[in-house]
């Protein structure tokens, strides 16, 4: 499932909703990204996250489906927030459910790498005196 949303999410609730559908899940790997207080040698106050929503759903679905197929995942959840996010706020969640642990780790890493590379989101960081568009390195 892909969710592009403004609002925060609760890890336990999001995971539980999926886990309770599959009793064959033995392993879950989750990645969560947060807004950090300090970046580019500056104190961050907040970020504004812009998204090309229809295309983000499209790209993340492709990445997710590839991961499910390549690592035989039982299920997979990607949540990405947009809008104004403050320091300590969650930005992204990727959760890969599988029978055994290595597949969940590798699939989650794969999804994050491609999300960072191809998902159409843009972060603008705001400091106490200025702002800056960020760019993911490869």
């Amino acid at each position: 499932m892909i969710k592009i949303q403004k609002k925060d999410f609760n890890l336990e609730n999001e995971i539980k909703k999926i886990k309770e559908k599959h009793s064959d899940i033995g392993a879950l790997n989750i990645f969560t990204g947060y807004v950090r207080d300090f970046n580019n040698s500056k104190d961050v106050e907040y970020i504004n996250l812009e998204v090309y929503k229809e295309m983000a759903v499209n790209e993340l679905s492709k990445i997710k489906n590839k991961a499910i197929e390549d690592w035989g995942l039982i299920d997979c959840l990607i949540i990405h927030r947009f809008g104004k996010l403050y320091v300590n706020d969650k930005i992204v969640l990727v959760a890969c459910f599988s029978s055994h642990r290595n597949n969940s780790f590798e699939a989650c890493k794969y999804i994050m790498d491609y999300l960072k590379k191809d998902a159409p989101f843009w972060k603008k960081e705001y400091y106490n005196n200025g702002s800056n568009w960020l760019e993911n390195s490869n």
Binding site: N58, V92, L115, K116, F121, W122, K123, K124, W133
Partner: protein, 81 residues
Amino acid sequence: MKIKYFAWIKEITHKDFEIIHNNHPKDISELKGILKKSYPDLEKYFSKDILRFAINLEYISDNQDLSSTDEIAIFPPVSGG
């Protein structure tokens, strides 16, 4: 034909999107020419080849033909996650 702008491209075009009703460009290459004329500040980014194009939500890498119903997006390197 709809052209969408994102992130700091919007700060150059001063709009989120625009619609080209008549005489739309026949391919991406021609579209670039039109955009460079309308927004001279875009030229250096085109020449540095750092912008990405998507047609109807799909990335394109080469030049490609366009039709009047296409939604074209132009954006800088992404920074999600």
